[in-house]
């Protein structure tokens, strides 16, 4: 009985491995992509413009630093993120998971007690790219920042596949 369960797990594990291995060759080392997105924070209700550069260090794994300028009602806000993305699928729909570190900066306009706030947090999230043309795609992403009051960020944008 125990042996049967082990065999089942082994079989399932093998199938998963084959599936992942088969689908994991869509993103190649040295590929570069540029993204423009609009980003929205669900908790802080902030909207902003976001730029991302993405470079594949090895196949399937990219480094994607980004900068966001947000538009609060008063004062200023911005965010900088340094994420790694791992892609699970190739072809037209490309799914990825992300992890990294983010910095959220907020400058208040008329608050003498707290003029400036700077918070760092790890980022955890996932996203999907959809290729419209050979060069142009759409990107949707969701990420959570546990150390920034559990802020959830949604991102929707376009990207250009440089190579």
């Amino acid at each position: 009985m125990v042996m049967n369960i082990k065999i089942k797990y082994l079989f399932l594990g093998s199938v998963m491995w084959i599936l992942l291995s088969h689908n994991a060759f869509g993103q190649y080392q040295e590929q570069i992509r540029l993204h423009y997105s609009n980003e929205y924070g669900l908790g802080n209700n902030l909207f902003g413009f976001n730029l991302v550069g993405e470079y594949f260090l090895i196949d399937n794994l990219s480094f994607a630093p980004s900068a966001t300028i947000l538009f609060p009602a008063t004062g200023k806000a911005s965010a900088f993120n340094f994420n790694a993305r791992y892609y699970f699928t190739e072809e037209d729909i490309q799914l990825y998971g992300l992890a990294g570190y983010g910095i959220f900066r907020r400058r208040y306009e008329h608050n003498p007690e707290l003029n400036f706030d700077n918070r760092g947090s790890i980022n955890l999230g996932a996203g999907v790219l959809y290729k419209i043309y050979d060069e142009i795609g759409l990107n949707f992403e969701i990420k959570v920042q546990p150390q920034n009051n559990g802020e959830v960020w949604l991102k929707l944008g376009m990207l250009y596949y440089i190579n």
């Binding site: 291995s21 088969h22 060759f25 190649y28 080392q29 040295e30 590929q31 423009y36 609009n38 413009f49 090895i58 196949d59 300028i69 538009f71 009602a73 008063t74 200023k76 306009e109 008329h110 043309y133 050979d134 060069e135 142009i136 376009m158 250009y160 440089i162 190579n163």
Partner: protein, 272 residues
């Protein structure tokens, strides 16, 4: 008879009273008055990259200064705006293209010495543009319909954002001077006129501004150098008060076709 006289007197009195009322209303009309002209300097970088047969990336970055408070004619006395506009262009055919994208403007304080002003505020916009191009005897004529959805605020500390929609139409003629048509190494003259309308809850006047701009320029490989004088005229927030500006513009445009630069990437690991 006396009744008729009474009615006539009453009617004439009403008519006279209404006429008098109109006269009072007319005299309340604000008198149009123009402010003394001010000066500014706008310096712009324009980029247009062809990403595919149909799609371009378009970008403008401007560094804008305006005259100092003490001297209306010095052009560069105060920082005015950092102006960034970008978008994806879809080329339907050689005569028609549409651009959609964001704009982000830093608006700087009108008085750097006044602590009641924020040094700079952000003005985000979404914009789209419908551009029609025609050629007549070597002259290239552009009809530019541009629509901007703006979130703008004053630089006063604590001022609130106001949403407005802006509608712009510009007609530009590119007139080649040393060649039969616009091509490489062409000196050209480019007169244009652009009219701005703006609507929003706090807008007093729908007409925002008119800009008359005459540029001279030169095309050199991927570059276009152009600049000139622009005169603007339009209402202010005070009813009946109009402003006008003399602006010197200097610009560089750089275009690049990425289609030939997309190198194939080889897989670093064999596929299963």
């Amino acid at each position: 008879m006396s009744k008729k006289l009474l009615l006539l007197s009453l009617l004439s009195w009403i008519v006279c009273w209404e006429g008098f009322g109109q006269e009072v209303e007319e005299s309340a009309e604000p008198v149009r008055r123009g402010l003394a002209p001010t000066t500014e300097s706008w310096n712009g970088l324009y980029l247009k990259f062809r990403l595919s047969d149909r799609i371009f990336w378009y970008q403008e970055n401007h560094y804008r200064r305006r005259n100092s408070i003490a001297n209306r004619a010095d052009f560069i006395g105060r920082m005015s705006q950092l102006y960034n506009r970008a978008g994806f262009v879809y080329l339907f055919n050689d005569q028609f293209e549409v651009t959609v994208g964001p704009t982000l403007v830093w608006n700087f304080t009108p008085d750097p010495d006044d602590p009641n002003y924020e040094n700079s505020t952000l003005e985000p916009r979404l914009w789209h543009q419908w551009l029609l191009t025609q050629s007549i005897a070597g002259v290239k004529i552009l009809h530019q319909f541009r629509f901007e959805h703006r979130f703008k605020r004053d630089n006063f500390i604590g001022a609130e954002y106001a949403y407005t929609d802006r509608y712009r139409y510009k007609i530009t003629a590119y007139i080649p001077l040393n060649k039969p048509r616009m091509e490489n190494n062409t000196f050209f003259l480019a007169p244009s006129n652009e009219i701005f309308f703006e609507t929003g809850k706090q807008q007093i006047d729908v007409l925002e501004e008119n800009r008359v701009y005459t540029a001279i320029g030169y095309t050199y490989n991927n570059f276009m150098f152009f600049g000139g004088h622009m005169w603007t005229y339009g209402p202010t927030n005070n009813p009946g008060i109009y402003r006008n500006r003399h602006i010197i513009r200097l610009n560089i445009m750089y275009t690049l076709d990425f289609r030939g630069r997309r190198t194939p990437v080889t897989r670093s690991l064999p596929s299963l």
